[in-house]
């Protein structure tokens, strides 16, 4: 008697589920104290690496080599942060990271809404089949392409420029196309129809009617694209050779000199790289959650 009929249509990817209007109450363990302890313990497990990063970043070289290790910095060496940014050309790497992240994010913000619009707000023959190819390309391992891509970019004389990393972002990303498309599909058709009747062409409908409504979804794309580009490792490693072009991801290896690694400086630099991501997350938590659980994006 209890089998509800409304769960039958599991979406193919199962991440496009409709938000459940009901309060979410399940699997409640009897003792909420025990549950809390479990949750706190698991949280500590996931945050411990970052505590250890900050802890190690603040130790001087003597304290760092103490055995057993000190659980908090007894003599916090804040100057490690100054030394970390002067030990390697941190400023140059940071600037390169910012340029790459900005370029990729701008590309993602322009291309994905446009493409997703073509896959959702206009009904053309073969649309769903072609969109199937977009989705399938999510499952193609990128490393399959790297040898050929390198050769192609070399022939274009793009190696050692930011172009091989930024330009592809202007041609859309299947995840972001999927995400934007889910959002567009949720908007009623009437708003487009009205504008068309008033004589707007499709691009005007896109730009003046749909895009203003899509700001939250674009924000999700922007945030994810920025986080992804900030952490990008393989493409800069492949396509950038001159040290002056390196972003932080590749530049960090220079804390390793000969057989010695300046671990405290490395951790100080890692802290500086992690902090903007944490700040972005804390500021836009809602968008992160919405982006992952696509379909739940609301204005």
């Amino acid at each position: 008697m209890a089998v509800a009929p409304d769960i039958r249509e599991a979406p193919p990817l199962a991440i496009a589920g409709q938000p459940n209007p009901r309060p979410w109450r399940r699997l409640r363990l009897p003792n909420s104290l025990g549950v809390r302890l479990g949750l706190i313990g698991a949280s500590l497990l996931f945050l411990a690496p970052f505590y250890w990063m900050a802890n190690s970043a603040l130790k001087n070289i003597h304290e760092l080599s103490a055995i057993p290790p000190t659980l908090y910095p007894h003599a916090p060496a804040f100057e490690n942060f100054v030394r970390a940014v002067t030990y390697i050309p941190f400023g140059t790497f940071l600037l390169n990271s910012v340029i790459l992240t900005t370029g990729v994010t701008v590309g993602a913000a322009i291309s994905n809404p446009l493409i997703a619009y073509g896959f959702s707000r206009i009904k053309w023959p073969g649309r769903d089949f072609v969109f199937g190819i977009v989705l399938a390309s999510i499952f193609l391992p990128f490393p399959v392409l790297i040898v050929a891509l390198f050769d192609i970019f070399a022939k274009l004389h793009w190696i050692d420029t930011f172009l091989p990393i930024i330009v592809p972002a202007f041609f859309g990303n299947p995840f972001f196309i999927f995400l934007m498309r889910q959002f567009f599909l949720g908007l009623p058709n009437e708003i487009s129809e009205q504008a068309r009747i008033d004589g707007a062409n499709e691009f005007q409908v896109f730009l003046h009617i749909i895009m203003p409504l899509a700001k939250p979804a674009v924000a999700v794309v922007v945030i994810f694209a920025a986080v992804q580009a900030w952490g990008e490792f393989l493409t800069p490693l492949l396509f950038l050779q001159d040290e002056s072009k390196y972003p932080l991801s590749i530049g960090l290896q220079f804390y390793r000199q000969e057989h010695d690694v300046a671990y405290n400086l490395l951790m100080a630099a890692s802290t500086l790289i992690v902090l903007p991501v944490v700040a972005l997350f804390l500021a836009f938590q809602r968008f992160f959650i919405a982006g992952i659980t696509v379909g739940a994006v609301k204005g």
Binding site: G38, L47, L114, I133, S137, P143, I152
Partner: protein, 313 residues
């Protein structure tokens, strides 16, 4: 405005043509990008895989030499087995951890948003930075992990220096990213109608039974997605191995961790292409990786018929 079901027509109506023309400028960037940055490279690397090519000068025809060489190359087989070993552990463990996190994120507790944030945050931290943090965390001298192990009376482990533990260290590292898939599972959990749990409660089913009979079957489609996507990501594992072994700047050109235990498939592919300038061989490896990924995805799909729960009528 849902089009009524009708017979598939091979002739397009004027309206179809108009819509196609309208849509084309919107999707053109994707078509161009897909052809230029995906289709063409795949085809081009198939061609390169049958050549000898250093990246400079011209590629010379080599027939099946690269593939024959692969069959006899012990490092190729080691990189493949390292990768499969890693994926075989990291992917199922990842699914279990993600489900566990999702169940915890779904608890009806006032401050649950804080725990949710704690579980999710590590998954958006750049992987290279996480790897550097792991180097410090797992250090036998000043690392936290061995310190804690010794505190509770367990032997310290040389995580990154002992060939038996290096790959497991990367498996552990990967679990820090479980917060992302956990959110997808959380969405799946929330889509389960609460009436199911209510009637199960009336029938006197305990939490474990409710999980087995209701929760687990209803999230099997998400498990399938996570398994396939996780496997595809797993066989691409590269960044942690590169960072842990010092990449180009540290270690001998041919070593990748103790006893080459961190020589993962893509790492070896990368070394062949960009350190040994053997682009032909690397292309052949790329194609084999492509085929492996398709076969693994198909195998999981086929296997899933036995356990994915689609609500029967």
């Amino acid at each position: 405005m849902i089009a009524a079901p009708r017979l598939r027509r091979f002739r397009l109506s004027p309206e179809d043509w108009r819509n196609l023309r309208t849509a084309l400028p919107f999707i053109a960037p994707w078509i161009i990008g897909f052809l230029a940055f995906t289709v063409y490279p795949i085809v081009y690397s198939l061609y390169l895989s049958f050549t000898n090519y250093s990246g400079f000068g011209d590629a010379t025809a080599a027939g099946f030499d690269n593939y024959r060489h692969m069959a006899k190359d012990p490092l190729f087989w080691q990189s493949l087995s390292n990768t499969l070993y890693y994926a075989a552990l990291a992917v199922p463990i990842g699914v279990v951890v993600a489900i566990a996190l999702a169940l915890m994120m779904n608890q009806n507790i006032r401050e649950v948003a804080i725990y949710r944030a704690a579980f999710y945050l590590p998954s958006i931290i750049p992987l290279f930075a996480l790897t550097f943090i792991f180097i410090v965390l797992l250090n036998p001298g000043f690392g936290l992990v061995d310190f804690l192990l010794e505190r509770v009376g367990l032997p310290a482990v040389n995580w990154l220096g002992d060939a038996r533990w290096t790959r497991l260290s990367v498996v552990l590292l990967a679990q820090l990213g479980a917060g992302g898939p956990a959110l997808i599972f959380l969405a799946g959990l929330r889509a389960i109608p609460s009436e199911l749990y209510e009637s199960a409660l009336l029938d006197g089913a305990g939490p474990i039974r409710r999980f087995q009979k209701i929760t687990l079957p209803l999230i099997t489609p998400v498990i399938l997605f996570d398994l396939i996507y996780g496997t595809i990501l797993g066989i691409q594992i590269f960044t942690p191995a590169y960072v842990l072994t010092g990449g180009t700047s540290g270690g001998g050109a041919y070593t990748a961790g103790p006893e080459n235990s961190l020589l993962f498939y893509v790492y070896y592919l990368y070394k062949n292409a960009f350190q040994y300038s053997d682009m032909g061989y690397a292309s052949a490896m790329a194609w084999v990786l492509f085929v492996i990924s398709v076969l693994l995805a198909l195998a999981i799909m086929r296997w899933s018929r036995y356990w994915v729960h689609y609500e029967a009528t």
